[in-house]
Amino acid sequence: MPLRDQPVRLPTVLCVDDEHHVLNALDRVLHGYDCRVLLASDGWDALDLLEQEEIDVLICDAAMPGMDGLEVLREATTIAPATVRILLTAHCSNEEVVIPAVNEGEIFRLLSKPWDDGELRRTVADALGLEPKAWLEQQHRLRERDRNGDART
């Protein structure tokens, strides 16, 4: 049975960063992989989305004006406890960022900026509980099928 005909809910990844360029870049990294990507450029938007949408993975920047990433992660533990939380930060100071992120934000992984695209995809796959390899292969099958489907039309 073709995968496309199944009414599957795509896993949803929410990226939070105050810099649009970062958000767009993350969107590009995950584009074409089997997930829906939502973007939020501040903490309040992020918390709104966490309340409204069913979000599987949250990738959150640390230093943001207004509400910082730690607060978003902390809030997320109560608003959307099932969401897997990942911190993506350029500030890797232990005292200020890493320790509170682990202890209070209960993060699943920490990624540092600049990030490695492959590592980021693998981390998202891990967070989704997918075998990264399987996820990528499934991706490949979907593309092949799309191509064949397009060819047929």
Binding site: E19, H21, V22, N24, L26, R28, V29, P114
Partner: protein
């Protein structure tokens, strides 16, 4: 006050009651000795006598008189000779000698003064004159003694004060030295903080630039694939259809106009080069951050070869234009050290090496290991250091750079840091050939700071 022979002696009031002057009367004539002794009896003087020059010298030695009354004409050793002998001896030369002459001969008086006499009296002088002269010279002698004593005391005090001041100057220099070291350390720390802050800021844009370049690479490949497919389509389309043929020709013209083959092949290079450039920025920023993070005050295991590589990256801007950096690293174990501080040492040595090179030269960095140490050598082909300066280069504030260029603290700091690691730093140099700095660090690593032991023990 006692009066003597009816004279009221007002001068005795200047003299403390307990002081009695010792007077030595030297005369070969008993009558003369007795006469003077009689004049000087009373509580003001202790009178000693000697009947010859030789005896006089031995009495002087035992009694240390305050004044000597010395007869000029004596058999064997005469008065002048006795006087000259007394004046030649440092122990007795300050005792005033009053010559006693039998006549008023000017020539004799002059001889007496030449021999070192202080005064003279005539054998026919009356009692009051004898007393007055003896007293005056005794007092002068006493005052001179006092003067000498207070002069000596003053000199001693002066020496003490000078010693004190010298100590204070040294202390002030030490304090100043420490203050400047602290300042330098603070400066380095704040530079480190600034660098770390800048590194963080760069990490954000370099994050999306790198990632976007990857996406762009993928898109470019996709676009190329699409283009190739369209081009195939163009070649195979129905040229008998005039509309299609015109369109196909126009596509061909555009493809040629933009030099599509060149664009497509260059696009790949362009993206690859940009990716490599972004990677290098990443590397530098990472090293810079590591370098400033190394500033933690704790001992940690560090791979010295890696540490030198990071330092070279950080200093690259200072090095790349004039120097070729040759790395001859040996296999050395990681050692426990203060990485940030050692990084500063390497940085100082590398920058100094580059500054020693005027136009173009080589900096060779070697590392290795012997029984108890690892060693690091940083050698340049620069101008070299003259031998007379070589033993001063680690002194604080010693600099050959022009004012404002160097604090004269760089090498001193290096010396202090290496010493804190239980290591040694030395330099060998030949003017015109270059300089080699060598650092030895103990294999067992830097000694634990003393304060920490106490903490652990507590």
């Amino acid at each position: 006050m006692m009066t003597r022979d009816g004279h009221i002696d007002s001068n005795t009031e200047d003299r403390p009651a307990e002081v009695r002057y010792d007077v030595l009367v030297v005369d070969d004539s008993l009558v003369c000795r007795k006469t003077i002794e009689r004049y000087l009896r009373g509580d003001e003087f202790n009178v000693h006598t000697a009947s010859s020059g030789t005896e006089a010298l031995s009495v002087v030695e035992s009694k240390h008189p305050d004044v000597i009354l010395l007869d000029v004409q004596m058999p064997q050793v005469d008065g002048f000779e006795v006087c000259r002998a007394l004046k030649a001896d440092p122990a007795t030369r300050d005792i005033p000698v009053i010559f006693v002459t039998g006549e008023e001969a000017t020539k004799q008086k002059i001889r007496g003064f030449e021999a070192g006499g202080a005064d003279y009296i005539n054998k026919s002088s009356d009692e009051s004159e004898v007393i007055a002269r003896v007293r005056a010279h005794a007092r002068i002698g006493h005052l001179q003694d006092e003067l000498r004593r207070s002069r000596d005391e003053l000199a001693a005090q002066l020496a003490k004060t000078q010693e004190h001041m010298q100590k204070e100057r040294e202390l002030a220099k030490q304090v100043e030295d420490q203050r400047l070291q602290l300042l330098q350390a603070e400066k380095m720390a704040s530079i480190g903080q600034l660098a770390a802050g800048v590194a963080h800021e760069i990490n954000n844009p370099i994050g999306f630039i790198s990632s976007n370049l990857n996406s762009l690479q993928k898109y470019a490949r996709d676009i190329e694939r699409v283009l190739r497919a369209y081009d195939e389509l163009r070649c195979e389309c129905d040229h008998s259809n005039p509309g299609v043929a015109t369109k196909a020709d126009e596509v061909k013209r555009i493809l040629e106009e933009v030099e599509i083959d060149y664009v497509l092949s260059d696009l790949a290079d362009l993206i690859n080069e940009s990716i490599e450039g972004a990677h290098r920025v990443r590397q530098i920023v990472g090293d810079l951050r590591d370098f400033s993070h190394l500033d933690s005050p704790d001992l940690a295991e560090e791979d010295i070869n890696q540490l030198i590589d990071k330092t070279i990256n950080v200093a690259w801007n200072e090095l790349k234009y004039k120097t070729e950096v040759v790395r001859e690293y040996g296999k050395i174990p990681a050692i426990s050290c203060y990485g940030g501080k050692l990084g500063q040492v390497f940085l100082n040595l590398l920058v100094n090496a580059a500054q020693a090179i005027e136009k173009r030269g080589t900096i060779t960095v070697r590392t290795g290991q012997d029984h108890q140490h690892i060693w690091i050598e940083i050698a340049d082909t620069g101008c070299g250091i003259p031998a007379q300066q070589l033993n001063r280069i680690f002194d604080p504030f010693f600099t050959t750079k022009e004012v404002g260029k160097g604090t004269g603290l760089g090498l001193h700091l290096a010396y202090t840091i290496v010493e804190a690691h239980g290591g040694r730093i030395s330099a060998a140099s030949t003017v015109g050939k270059g300089t080699t700095f060598r650092i030895q660090l103990p294999l067992e690593g830097a000694p634990q700071p003393k304060g920490r032991h106490h903490e652990l023990a507590a």
